[in-house]
């Protein structure tokens, strides 16, 4: 009898992901799901899915889910958490959802210190709609709506959400991670777990920003995409902790 050495986490449903080859959403889903399983909160967790590539997250996470309108996940999560203060509530949002159309909602959920966890997946592009420029698209980066590369004079410089939200008193924990290597994946999981734990401990708003790849819309192979992220995104979006739960007492 063979020994089982690897299996699907109970935090995910038995459904194939719709994500493109090389996209790191699958890894990030798995990390969140493993954390929910390990913290033993799958039975009381309520997640909020965004509009964007991860719009079907409600089909994947093995917990109660609500599908929000584009950008409104933090407001929806606020309604859920205020109704169910003892439940673990999280949002899973992309950069178009969180850093563009939903900026007001994320800033104010963070300001209020809503006791929710936001998983913010930043891949510097609108993925689902076909590779348009996002507020996080790097200067010079080509996208379908910045065909000559993002021009700083015309479209501004990309927004750093973790840094911006860390200026507020409401957040208890904000960290930026990535999933480009096994070591980084382990760090990302640790951060996600710490964020959910801080929520359970009632500390305040928590957000983990995960730098993610989009090989399809970047026009790169999965391996090239990992390299591009590390060489271009990480310098502009430095990994690290921007707010720690220890500071909030």
């Amino acid at each position: 009898m063979a020994e089982m050495v690897f299996k699907r986490t109970k935090g995910l449903q038995d459904r194939p992901f719709h994500y493109c080859p090389g996209c790191t959403h699958g890894i990030i889903h798995r990390l969140v799901a493993e954390v929910l399983e390990e913290l033993d909160v799958l039975d009381n967790a309520v997640g909020v899915a965004p509009v964007g590539c991860s719009v079907f997250a409600y089909d994947y996470f093995n917990c109660d889910m609500q599908e929000a309108a584009h950008g409104r996940a933090p407001a929806v999560a606020t309604g859920i958490k205020r109704t169910l203060p003892d439940n673990v509530v999280f949002t899973y949002q992309g950069d178009g959802d969180l850093a563009s159309i939903g900026t007001a909602e994320i800033v104010h959920a963070a300001m209020r210190g809503e006791k929710i966890t936001t998983i913010f997946v930043n891949n510097a592009v609108y993925g689902m709609t076909g590779g348009q420029m996002a507020p996080t698209t790097l200067v010079g980066q080509k996208a379908t709506t910045s065909p000559f590369g993002r021009d700083r004079d015309h479209a501004g410089a990309p927004i750093r959400m973790s840094e911006m939200l860390a200026t507020l008193d409401g957040p208890a924990y904000i960290e930026r991670v990535t999933v480009t290597s096994p070591a980084n994946i382990r760090k990302a999981k640790k951060a996600i777990k710490k964020a959910f734990q801080a929520q359970i401990d009632g500390k305040g708003f928590t957000m983990i920003e995960v730098l993610s790849t989009c090989p399809t819309n970047w026009g790169l192979t999965p391996v090239e995409a990992i390299k591009w992220l590390e060489e271009n995104m990480v310098p502009y979006y430095p990994l690290g902790v921007y707010k720690t739960p220890e500071e909030v007492e």
């Binding site: 449903q13 799958l42 039975d43 009381n44 967790a45 309520v46 909020v48 719009v55 409600y58 996470f61 093995n62 917990c63 109660d64 889910m65 609500q66 599908e67 929000a68 309108a69 409104r72 407001a75 929806v76 999560a77 606020t78 309604g79 859920i80 958490k81 205020r82 109704t83 169910l84 439940n87 007001a104 909602e105 800033v107 104010h108």
Partner: protein, 353 residues
């Protein structure tokens, strides 16, 4: 319970709390700000939560989240703010969530003004947000009726898992009248076993959603919603028929305007003109059959509104060509004056038919 004198906006709050509303999410806007102010003061005393949102958009999405988690929840605003909520209302209807939305209508379009108006009739009854959806829209004409409909509105929302809207205007919101908070007729409300409360021992996950990427599935969902809207249309019509025994003309009016028509009826009676009133209380579902029924007994209809002519289209549908349908309206926050309506009626009845 003894009657107490209450201002319309505050009476809404008192009725909602009495009806077991546990959450209010709102954003300030004239002329309804007394309501969130009242809720901020009174809800904590009732073990309920008032939260001021960053925008009307956020408020309606907080309503979505709370309703999806099984809470009895409401929001309120006035015209421009209700426009901002339309996206959320469409999602709420699509995801089949119960909630109460109050619109204290002011003059439009755009920023318009802050005085009483009825120019959001189309928005409230014909969609407002995107997609095929309907919601019960109730238009009280007194503070007592306002509280009755707020309380019943929550039950209607729960019964059909659908948003319900109450429309008033600044006049109703600001006027003080004696009120008694009365329990609505008991309805058989289904359990909220669809709510996302954590899957716990349920054995399956609950998902609140309005996305159906397969067009065949999306159509199926629409057919299911339509069946529900048909039930609402059949069961939830409310109207008042007043002084319609032998009318020369029937005025169709709702809310504040219907009160003005009652004065018009008295004034016309003195001059030997018999004016009837059909007052739709539910603007959707609209009482088309009542209009059609009375078409046989009157020479004409006049739709009187604080708009440039919106409900008049439904009155015409109800009259179905049997009798002429006239219109008189003031808008932008101007309230019709009884004498002007009397003059309009005389013009209609004196004119060639």
């Amino acid at each position: 319970m003894a009657k107490v004198l209450m201002k319309g906006n505050e009476a809404i709050g008192a009725a909602a709390i009495k009806a077991g509303c546990k959450f209010f999410f709102g954003y300030p806007i004239t002329p309804q700000s007394e309501l969130p102010e009242y809720m901020a003061r009174e809800m904590p005393k009732a073990g309920a939560t008032f939260l001021q949102s960053e925008s009307e958009v956020a408020a309606i999405n907080m309503v979505y989240g709370a309703a999806g988690a099984g809470a009895r929840v409401m929001t309120s605003s006035s015209s421009p703010g209700i426009s901002l909520k339309q996206e959320g209302i469409s999602y709420i209807a699509g995801a089949e969530l119960p909630c109460l939305i109050v619109n204290i209508i002011r003059g439009g379009p755009g920023l318009g003004g802050i005085q009483p108006a009825q120019s959001d009739y189309f928005q409230a009854t014909k969609g407002g947000g995107h997609g095929d959806y309907k919601m019960v829209v109730l238009a009280p004409a007194s503070v007592q009726e306002l509280t009755d409909l707020i309380m019943e509105g929550f039950d209607i929302a729960d019964q059909y898992r659908n948003p319900v809207m109450i429309v008033g205007d600044g006049m109703l919101g600001q006027m003080m009248e004696p009120v008694e908070l009365r329990e609505p007729k008991k309805r058989n409300l289904p359990p909220k076993d669809w709510a996302t409360t954590g899957k716990g021992g349920r054995g399956h996950t609950n998902v609140i959603n309005s996305l159906f990427i397969d067009p065949a599935e999306c159509e199926k969902h629409n057919l299911k919603l339509k069946a529900k809207f048909d039930q609402m249309e059949k069961n939830e019509k409310k109207f008042e028929v007043y002084n319609c025994e032998n009318p020369d003309i029937i005025a169709v009016a709702y809310g504040t305007t219907a009160r003005i028509i009652k004065t018009v009826i008295e004034k016309c009676r003195d001059e030997g003109i018999n004016v009837g009133l059909i007052r739709p209380i539910s603007l959707w579902p609209f009482p088309y059959e009542v209009i059609e029924e009375y078409a046989d007994r009157t020479k004409a209809f006049i739709s009187v509104e604080m708009s440039m002519g919106q409900m008049v289209e439904d009155v015409k549908l109800g009259a179905n060509g049997k009798k002429p349908v006239h219109f008189y309206g003031r808008t932008g926050g101007m309230v019709p004056i009884p004498d002007d309506i009397v003059a309009e009626i005389k013009k209609i009845l004196g004119g060639a038919e």
